[in-house]
């Protein structure tokens, strides 16, 4: 078990680690080839979403009526959709929209879920009780159904008042409702575990303030986990946005999202399957790379779960892996 001195000695950037290790976080991450490749693909996808449209230069909303549902050709490298719009241009644009939604969802999830989780875990007592019960309630709520309810009831008013960006935030907000209780539950568990560690007790005994303990002992221990579960949640968010779109409650047309492109082309599966294939591939790719990056991060933060890990006492490990599996489980099942 780590001694207080060891933690004090650990450089700030690496103190995500709760265990003393010979090698740093990035070293371990880089040893995981799948995770590294995935990270590269993820960066490529993000580049495609941000710089891609500029480089490609085709208007994603321009309608070429002679190219309706056309197959890949020199004019349209990935074909065109049911309104004759260029699929490559729309995929880039759609990636941008989908990733933006996912970004806001995770931002809200972290801001609300992680903060409340930290607070509940660290403060304990009544604060913990109130927050946990509230999270439990949302947790028992049929998640996506609630997101649909919020998006359906407030969608129009919000769009009228705040336009497209308001709509995007509403969609993100309602999807975050599905994610944040899990994040809170998870961070709370981790904070509780950390709080009982020897080094926290030692820090307290030498008179460290709550703020200091939080900053230098608790926060570093949960940040990695927050990042991991947020990363793993991205894929689910992209699919959930697609489900909202399926009900006409997602992002407003003509702007595409990856999920929306799939929905719009699925009716034409038998006319031109390529139009379903391309956005679906992008979606699958998003899910795969974000999952692998998440896995890689987890293994690097928590080396025991990786194959080359050193051994340590079992009980805290079990706790950790259980709590990791919870948000993942739910982010997976709630995309049904």
């Amino acid at each position: 078990m780590a001694t207080p001195e060891a933690v004090q000695l650990a450089p700030a950037g690496n103190s995500v680690l709760m265990h003393r290790n010979r090698h740093g976080f990035w070293w371990r991450f880089s040893r995981n080839r799948l995770a590294v490749v995935s990270l590269a693909v993820a960066i490529l996808l993000i580049l495609l979403a941000t710089a891609g449209p500029l480089w490609y230069g085709v208007d994603a909303n321009y309608q070429d009526y002679d190219a309706i549902n056309s197959w890949p050709s020199s004019a349209h490298p990935l074909g065109a959709d049911s309104l004759g719009r260029d699929t490559l241009a729309r995929i880039m644009q759609g990636l941008r929209v989908s990733l933006t939604v996912a970004f806001y969802v995770e931002l809200i999830t972290i801001a609300v879920g992680a903060t409340l989780g930290l607070l509940a875990g660290y403060a304990g007592g009544h604060v913990d009780n109130v927050i946990s019960r509230f999270a439990d309630m949302l947790f028992a709520f049929p998640g996506l159904l609630f997101a649909i309810l919020i998006a359906a009831v407030f969608g129009q008013a919000v769009t009228e008042r705040f336009g497209g960006i308001g709509r995007l935030l509403l969609v993100a907000g309602s999807l975050a409702l599905v994610s944040w209780p899990l994040m809170a539950r998870y961070v709370r568990g981790q904070t509780l575990t950390l709080k009982e560690r020897d080094f926290v007790g030692a820090a307290r005994s030498i008179g460290a303030s709550n703020g200091r303990i939080m900053r230098s002992h608790i926060m570093p221990g949960v940040i990695g986990l927050i990042v991991i579960s947020a990363t793993l949640d991205v894929a689910a968010v992209v699919v959930n946005e697609a489900v909202l779109s399926l009900l006409g409650l997602g992002i407003q047309p003509p702007d595409p999202s990856v999920g929306q492109m799939i929905r719009q082309s699925i009716d034409y599966l038998e006319t031109n399957w390529t139009q379903v294939l391309f956005p679906s591939l992008v979606l699958t790719l998003l899910v795969l790379v974000f999952s692998f990056v998440g896995d890689g991060l987890r293994d690097a933060v928590d080396p025991q779960s990786a194959t080359h890990a050193e051994r340590s006492n079992a009980p805290p490990r079990r706790r950790l892996s259980r709590s990791i599996s919870y948000p993942v489980a739910l982010s997976v099942v709630h995309m049904l």
Binding site: Q63, Y65, I68, Q156, T159, L247, G248, Q252, P253, E270
Partner: protein, 556 residues
């Protein structure tokens, strides 16, 4: 930990497996609440007709006094009957009444009830049953949304609707077989209105016995009666043994509900349905090409018009020149042929093709981008006075999103106007139309909508939609010349031809002033299995002229 402790886990898995295995063959246990499909199926060998109901996962109700959507009307028309009905040419023909007379002023209709007419349970039907059914439909306790509107011309109807009377004074039971109905005006389309379910005969004894639950086993004077209503799944009908035209030869009609017409199409093509496709939810456009040459495929122009409505009380669409500019800037041919792959017929007018009155020509606003720009300039918009950003609203269903996106592009390209799209989920959309009618200043700017015929009379389109005093004129189109012509036609005494001429003149004004911006008439594309005979596709849906002649496949 010992093996014993693993037992609960295995039990859980086992339970799950057993649940999966058992629940399937015989839906017992936890799925008992779901009526077993097996017991409702007709015995093998007899004829069974499976006709899908698309666009809903459940019928809102079967009470003819309150037909809430086209899907429930599809079922109501099989179970109930009125005084008159439509034939396959959409003429009004006798149903519960074998004949009728109209007074010279056109205000009094005297019906002779068919001799020996019975409800499905064998109880005789008299003039009193019809009178009581109509009064019931009007009473506020029935909460019918459409009755007071459809039957409002009957003298005293409004008193009943307002709760001030129980019976309309204009409905008089002369004797058991004679019913006289007096109207407040000459209403040439009154008989056509009587083909709409609100005036159909309902078995009042059954209604009184169970006012909310009687429709579970609904029956009336129509060819069929309810055998079983499997909620959220299907409605199963069996023949009415007392049907006046002879009991149908089909032993069972099954009406399964499909929210998504794609699902119904999938079932049809693997042999699970005998008829699929309705006016509102025809064979999906994406599949029309696949089935176009099949003998199963039938297509007729629907008596419906998809149009753009404008809020005439709000700038900038209060200006007819702006509306004209928007109308001239839309290439409807491309919309119909390319975007909607020929599944619709483009139109420049209000009355749908084939509908009474459509034989008289109307000159439409044909696509002309240059003329459109001129109109917009003439309305005072240009470089120094740019056109404001406007919002176009539509209900998120079917092809609407693609149509709206197409229109957005057209206005951008041909007028240089930026239009924001606002898809609304259907319920919210119709609520917004109400708002637009009740408080125009807080209403929609312009919107995509559709109107389908309630009954085959030009009044149903021209006057009901655009007369300034009509409650269906959501956009508040107002034109004095139009109103004068439409009003004259609505109460016209004389030849039907002369009356249609008046409507035609009115329609021309509405087209020129863009009361509506008509886009297209959807095609009623329907798939009917070749084994099914005795059914005719009309612009107002499927008509079965003589149920005793209708055949279908033998149940398996």
């Amino acid at each position: 930990m010992s093996w014993k402790k693993m037992i609960p886990l295995f039990v859980l898995v086992l339970v799950a497996v057993v649940a999966a295995g058992c629940a399937a063959p015989a839906p017992t246990g936890q799925s008992a609440a779901q009526p077993a499909a097996a017991e409702a199926t007709a015995p093998a060998g007899v004829q069974k007709l499976i006709w899908s109901v698309e666009g809903v996962n459940e019928l809102p109700g079967l009470d003819p006094a309150n037909p809430q959507n086209a899907q429930s009307i599809q079922a109501i028309n099989l179970i109930f009957g009125g005084l008159v009905k439509l034939d396959d040419q959409l003429n009004v023909v006798p149903d519960g009444a074998e004949k009728w007379e109209v007074s010279e002023d056109g205000k009094t209709y005297t019906f002779t009830i068919r001799e020996g007419l019975k409800f499905a349970d064998g109880a005789p039907v008299t003039a009193n049953d019809f009178a009581a059914s109509i009064n019931r439909a009007l009473q506020p306790e029935t909460a019918s949304y459409g009755a007071s509107f459809q039957l409002g011309h009957i003298v005293g109807a409004n008193d009943v609707a307002a709760g001030n009377a129980k019976e309309a004074s204009g409905i008089v039971v002369v004797d058991d077989r004679t019913l006289a109905i007096t109207l407040d005006d000459n209403v040439p389309y009154f008989l056509a209105q009587l083909t709409y379910p609100v005036s159909f005969a309902v078995p009042l004894q059954a209604v009184e016995k169970d006012p909310t639950g009687w429709t579970e086993k609904a029956f009336g004077t129509g060819p069929f009666q309810v055998k079983e209503w499997q909620h959220n799944q299907k409605l199963i009908l069996e023949p009415n043994p007392n049907y006046w035209a002879g009991a149908p030869s089909i032993a069972e009609v099954e009406l399964p509900f499909f929210q998504d017409s794609e699902t119904a199409y999938q079932l049809y093509r693997t042999g699970g349905l005998d008829i699929m496709g309705s006016q509102q939810n025809p064979v999906p456009a994406a599949h029309v090409a696949e089935v176009k040459d099949s003998p199963d495929f039938k297509t007729v122009a629907s008596f419906a018009t998809r149009y753009i409505g404008f809020n005439n009380k709000l700038a900038p669409f209060d200006n007819p020149q702006v509306r004209r500019a928007f109308a001239l800037a839309v290439d409807k041919a491309t919309l119909a042929d390319k975007v909607l792959s020929g599944a619709v017929t483009p139109t420049d007018r209000i009355v749908p093709a084939g509908f009474p009155g459509s034989q008289l020509p109307v000159k439409g606003l044909a696509f002309d981008a240059a003329a459109a720009k001129q109109e917009l300039a003439a309305a005072g918009y240009g470089a120094d006075n740019p056109f404001p950003q406007v919002t176009f609203t539509y209900g998120a269903e079917g092809d609407n999103e693609r149509v709206a996106t197409f229109l957005q592009q057209q206005w951008k390209e041909n007028l240089g106007v930026d239009v924001v799209l606002q898809p609304l989920e259907l319920a919210t959309f119709s609520k917004n139309l109400d708002t637009t009618y009740l408080t125009p200043e807080a209403g929609l700017q312009f919107y995509l909508s559709i109107w389908g015929a309630d009954y085959p009379d030009a009044q149903n389109f021209v006057s009901q939609q655009l007369r300034s005093d009509s409650p269906n004129n959501n956009g508040h189109f107002e034109n004095a010349d139009f109103d004068k012509l439409a009003m004259e036609a609505d109460t016209f005494i004389g030849s039907a031809e002369d009356r249609l001429k008046l409507y035609n003149e009115a329609e021309q004004i509405a087209v020129d002033q863009v009361g509506w911006l008509p886009l297209y008439s959807p095609s009623f594309n329907v798939l009917i299995r070749p084994e099914v005979s005795g059914v005719v596709a009309t612009g107002q849906g499927l008509v079965f002229p003589d149920w005793s002649q209708v055949t279908s496949r033998a149940a398996q």
